[in-house]
Amino acid sequence: MAIADASIGAALVPSDAVSRNERWARIRRRLVVWVPAGSVTFLLLLCFVGPFVLPLPSPIGGSVLDSGLPPGTAGHPLGTDVNGNDVLSRLIYGGRASLTIAIATNVIGLVVGGGIGAVSGFLGGKADTVIMRALDVLIAFPSLVLTIAIAQILGPSVPNTILALSAFSVPAVARIARSATLKIANMPFIQAAELSGSTTWRTLTRHVVPNITPQMLNFALLGMGIVIVTEGALSFLGMGIPAPAPSWGNMIFEGQQSLSATPLLVLWPSLALLVTVLSFNMLGENVRDEMSGR
């Protein structure tokens, strides 16, 4: 229908105008995917490869003698913080911690949550009801409140932060996986597989999982921003990555102490957070639009 409309419209407008408009639209469509994709790739490279190839000073253990150096000082392009640590180095190492946590949380969400959701949706019946009611309890908690409670139980560290954040990524992914599974569970190809003697496990792993995976991956991409922001909030409150190790959240917290004197110490990690979250959000939204065939 939409295609027919477009071709009728095209026939009515002079052809070179159409081709120019179409070419521009095509370029734009590509740009909105490739710019955030490039930005995400750049961030990943910077944070994971950067520490090995760039001549960065150590992000911790600086000397108080170097504290509060302005941006542009030799050896410290973005200056130093109150403890005399290089800000650029802390940004990159902090980003590595944030991205590691975000990726790990999403992988746990995909594997555990996706598994639970697919099994629950595919089996149906009592098991489905029980599993979903249990997840409802976790979903009812506001994410920050839940992670604060869990982080406080486990204590501040990188693995514990991942576990605390997984407490909301797992149920969220499980819900999406379940509804995606329900949508395809009655489709002819699933019935065909079952009629041809495929075991439940085989149908689940060979037919259901491959079909819901793209949707799950896209959801995880959209979830990256949420996890990064929540991790920042936890570290900001002193319950995430323990100082002196850098994270964008605890850098913002430290900078807050001297906000009026050196606002840049808050602005750099905030900007890093903004660019990262924006890149992931844009990439996720555009991939979703492409997938839904807009």
Partner: protein, 343 residues
């Protein structure tokens, strides 16, 4: 004689049938079903919160008695706090207290928890309510103007700005607002809450920055959703075509027809957001030193003030559950198809 009896019996019958009709109506049944689902959910949440607090390392009795207390003193405090009894018994005591309105005392300030809540809740409620009002007051006109000409200059500018601001976490937004309005312009206070008793203006000045920190990301979210929904309605809905065909002006179609339909979805979104927003106040209250529920909970978590944390976390979760319930019911009130179970 007989006629009076007959009329009264008819009346009671009528009344009974009316009552029966109300109680047996699909809407009442839906509400009942929702409450039936929500009650065990809330119970499960309260058990989970209790279990989580049990799992937090550290001994509250020792905290209470002080670091240099003897073993006997700690035991005495433990007994006094009731911590020597089994966990199940303590949970049931808490639940009984919750039902009768006795929530125990804070182990830090020694104040009754109910009076702490009465002090702190109005602050959080004010922040959340104002944040919703401000965000809708920004989002609705912006979305309408943007949807008037999709792809136009205003629309594109709004989309880019809202996408960017959506990526700003509320704690960063809070600090940016402090930097601009409190540090640079010195026009608004950076921290502290002025009670409504000290004047409306002073109160509003003190909550402006925290409310904006909560409302701006929310406004972007709503504006994007509403704009998208309006554009879709304008492009595809039959009633829009009809309205246009009978000569209704484009602006009137957008405002009087499409917006009415889209407001339905917007309302749902607002309802679903309440839980998240209440959770978001935790960090914003902390930054602006607002004496609200969030700060109460954070301090309670740090000092292992079980009675306080238990009820705070429970309130946060319960608000989310109840908001979902209200959204479901409102859906049914507005849409007969759902009321009658055709979903």
């Amino acid at each position: 004689m007989t006629t009076t009896v007959a009329t009264t019996s008819i009346r009671t019958e009528e009344r009974a049938s009316l009552l029966g009709r109300v109680l047996g109506s699909p809407l009442a049944r839906l509400i009942a079903r929702r409450i039936l689902i929500a009650t065990p959910l809330l119970l499960a949440i309260s058990i989970l919160v209790f279990a989580m607090l049990e799992a937090i390392p550290g001994d509250p009795a020792r905290n209470q008695a002080g670091m240099d207390a003897t073993e006997e003193q700690v035991e005495a405090v433990r007994k006094q706090m009731g911590l020597d009894r089994p966990a199940v018994e303590r949970y049931l005591t808490w639940l009984g207290g919750f039902v009768t309105g006795n929530l125990g005392r804070s182990s830090v300030s020694e104040q009754p928890v109910t009076s702490l809540l009465a002090e702190r809740m109005p602050v959080t409620i004010e922040l959340v309510a104002l944040a919703f009002l401000v965000s809708l007051a920004i989002a609705i006109p912006v979305a309408l103007l943007a949807a008037r000409k999709p792809g136009g200059v205003f629309d594109r500018v709004v989309m880019v700005i809202s996408m960017t601001l959506l990526a700003v976490p509320n704690y960063v937004m809070a600090l940016l607002l402090v930097l601009v309005f409190a540090v640079t312009l010195r026009s608004l206070p950076a921290i502290g809450y002025v009670s409504l008793d000290d004047g409306l203006l002073a109160n509003l000045r003190s909550v402006t920055l925290p409310v904006l920190a909560l409302a701006i990301p929310l406004a972007c979210f709503y504006a994007r959703f509403l704009r998208g929904d309006l554009v879709e309605q304008m492009n595809s809905a039959d009633y829009v075509e009809t309205a246009r065909a009978k000569g209704v002006t484009p602006w009137k179609v957008l405002w009087g027809h499409a917006f009415r339909n889209s407001s339905f979805g917007l309302l749902t979104l607002v309802g679903l957001n309440i839980g998240g927003l209440v959770g978001g106040t935790v960090i914003v209250e902390q930054i602006f030193s607002m004496p609200g529920l969030g700060v109460l909970m954070l301090q309670g978590v740090m000092s292992r003030d079980t009675a306080v944390v238990q009820i705070c976390v429970f309130i946060f979760a319960a608000v989310a559950v109840l908001a979902n319930l209200v959204v479901d019911v409102m859906y049914a009130v507005l849409d007969p198809r759902i009321r009658y179970g055709h979903r």
